[in-house]
Symmetry: C2
Subunit: 138 residues, 2 copies
């Protein structure tokens, strides 16, 4: 919903613009952890003048202001997601899809990290998703 997103931006001190709204709407709808390039390509159909630099700058702004989260799953690309809640990711090496999962991880148990301040937790697995795994077996 554009209206809620406009409010969200104002709360976070981000100037509302057409491009920014569309990018945020896109990320809310397309929860596939897209890269900047995917976002650009998809939005270009409806907004032919949209530029690469606007997409990158916008995404960086959103990440800085805590509206989006950046994911490092592959080393050569940044993926973005709307879901700010703590959760893990699973990337299927066959079909390329990225799945979310919930986890419980007791950080206090880890003796090596006593006294550390943990700001950001990142957990991702790779392998075969259910569909790709079962079609492999057959």
């Amino acid at each position: 919903m554009s209206k809620q997103h406009a409010e969200l931006m104002e709360q976070k001190g981000i100037k509302v613009s057409h491009q920014r709204l569309r990018i945020l709407d896109y990320l809310e709808k397309n929860r596939v952890h897209p890269t900047a390039d995917m976002i650009l390509n998809d939005l270009k159909d409806e907004m032919p003048s949209l530029s690469k630099s606007t997409v990158y700058k916008t995404l960086n702004t959103f990440v800085e202001k805590g509206v989006l989260r950046e994911l490092t799953i592959e080393e050569n690309e940044i993926r973005y997601e709307y879901n700010l809640q703590d959760h893990g990711h699973f990337k299927c090496i066959e079909c390329g899809k990225v799945f979310d999962f919930e986890y419980r991880f007791d950080v206090d148990d880890i003796k090596e990290l006593k006294g550390f301040r943990i700001d950001d937790k990142n957990i991702y697995f790779k392998g075969l998703c259910r569909d790709c795994n079962s079609s492999k077996v057959m």
Copy 2:
């Protein structure tokens, strides 16, 4: 120890060469999860003719053959480590150091991943390490 590394390479079907030995020795000694660039810079003092492409090609060979592990902590660089054992990483956003830690993570508990085949687990946190954290408090 170069000799053990030479044997290891032979076991894994990697031809032994001077450059490859030195790079592997370096990674065994310098357990700081270096990037290709750090390795190149450090080794260039003793081996001025060593080239970027040799370092990259060698590291890729080692990763393919399972001698080294690749880490994705930052999205714009690949780090390498000699330690193949399953463990987590913590990167301090202040001093930049990367710490290892052991974890227990029961994957069978995760309902979203039932039926998935998990090949690779990757866990990394960011924040302040003990030293940087305590100097912040003061």
